[in-house]
Symmetry: C2
DNA sequence: CTACATAATGTTATATTATAACAAATTTAA
DNA sequence: TTAAATTTGTTATAATATAACATTATGTAG
């Protein structure tokens, strides 16, 4: 909502919109909601999204092709993300759990590949949906 | 390659194609490659993919919108998947690691949400690309 | 066996997500 | 300054996925 440093006008407009939303926002939903602010076409939105992802301000929820603000002060560069996704109401929450991130950041598979980045998505029922 | 039980003709054709491929296959690549076998339109491919995913024969690699055969005899229902993805050559490998899956299957976040399913994608450089 | 209901498959059309290609404007740095 | 480089705007199109309905196959009651 407030002016962030080093962001262009379009990036700020897109970030503001994602921040205001309670749920993940899709690119074309962003587009239609920012047309009144002078963003006219998909590439303008996708370029802003790309930059915001790169600097860790937002994340893409891959299974939903939607975007959320980062809730984690530590993942400035967006290289270690985890989400909890309700299969009923589609609520998405970023998981902030240092044990989990520590475990995954240091994970080594048997091929010796060293990981720079991971994205984890958990699916289940949230409290509200469980009790229905 | 060999006839699987309980699969329809289209499901078998699509599965065969994905099994033959060394790399993740995209839906429209599948479509163009199975036209000679009588599959003509996207819904036929997507329905087959949906079923194959449900029974755990294949997985979707979300970050690539592509499909791979399951390499893990244990994830019959596809509810616990992990992949390693090379950012250079795009090679994708299913990670089969019982410690990892045990850890993630029993993971609890602070909201008390109980997870039924997860998908984890690691990114980095594979051995071959690292040494270039 | 029919005749009807149900489910599965085929087909056409369209919706949704994302990027290519180029033009115009802005910024940078000789 | 002015030419190059980068960023932004714009048009067009590519790539991914599903809706809607027609057709065919399968199952079930009479
Ligand atoms: Zn984050
Ligand atoms: Zn819910
Ligand atoms: Zn698997
Ligand atoms: Zn590689």
């Amino acid at each position: 909502m407030h002016k962030e440093n080093n962001l262009t006008k379009n990036q700020q407009i897109v970030l503001d919109l994602i921040e205001k939303s309670k749920e993940p926002v899709k690119a074309y939903s962003i587009l239609s909601n920012v047309k009144k602010r002078g963003i006219n076409a998909p590439p303008q939105v996708y370029r802003a999204l790309e930059k915001l992802i790169k600097i860790g301000k937002i994340h893409k929820v891959e299974s939903k092709n939607a975007f959320v603000v980062c809730k984690n002060t530590n993942c400035e560069v967006s290289n270690a993300t985890a989400f909890s996704i309700c299969q009923a109401c589609e609520k998405v929450t970023e998981i902030i759990n240092s044990k989990l991130s520590k475990y995954l950041k240091s994970f080594q598979d048997n091929t010796g590949m060293k990981y720079k980045k991971y994205n984890l998505e958990f699916f289940g029922l949230c409290q509200k949906c469980k009790s229905k």
